[in-house]
Symmetry: C2
Subunit: 175 residues, 2 copies
Amino acid sequence: MRILIDMDEVMADAIERFLEWYERDFGIRYTKEDLYGTKLHAIVPEEHRQVVKQYPHQKGFFKDLPLIPHSQEMIKELNDRFDVYVASAAMEFEYSLQDKYEWLDKHFPFIHWKRRILCGDKSVLKGDVLIDDHDFNLSVFNGRAIMFTATHNMHETKYERMNTWLDAEKFFDMK
Amino acid sequence: MRILIDMDEVMADAIERFLEWYERDFGIRYTKEDLYGTKLHAIVPEEHRQVVKQYPHQKGFFKDLPLIPHSQEMIKELNDRFDVYVASAAMEFEYSLQDKYEWLDKHFPFIHWKRRILCGDKSVLKGDVLIDDHDFNLSVFNGRAIMFTATHNMHETKYERMNTWLDAEKFFDMK
């Protein structure tokens, strides 16, 4: 069984970086609760919107992102049992590529380079399961689509949902 | 129809870079004819073999590679008619990612980031056609597999073969 796993908001906490950079630039610290069902650029003052949207296009945004809790241990378990691939729609962000590669080497060295995919549109990927936080990725995938809970997708009801990595075992009958 | 196109030896001439770096390091200029049916590391003196194998792992190897003749004009034509994706098994070479992205921006700006894929193993890709120079990529692909002629694959007979980009029209009935 081939399981494709998204990176941002599933393995790596990019929201945290948005909050951190916004605080750095404007002195206000939003919380993750502020972002339930929305994204940072949508709740900041209008005149900050473009700045926030540009963050992931800047060098260093994806560097040393914090881990989503329990992602390492649970993805290691999945990787021991199944064909796990990391599939990140990274191509929108030119400077993310190298940072994402290094991040995987550091935190997920057990995911071989053969099992790493940086792409644009995930409709091109073939697999049995996709674990992702975005409707636009899950909706174009042919296999089992599992939504990983992130602040922005809290109100989405279209998919089966993995709230935390600790739930993984029940999805894949790993006990 | 979705057409996936490999980069090295199909769009970009990486063999040229091997020959160039080898000459830089050892003062001998091999020719492409010397490489028919083989690869540079296999014909150089034994003591140079590891050096040559390490070239693509070094920074700058994939930077500003020359174009495969007629790739720009013909891929542009394909892109106007079909869903063209670039799919490069780049993950073996960490430092190639950024260089490949910039190279595409420079020479193939019409290929949107959504249509760019940097992966490891191409068995994960879904498409109707794959144009590639390697048996190990073509053999795991489910759709129409077209071998693009490169020095190393001259003697391969398993696939339909595109010798140059000028042949593309007859493969896709573009007249």
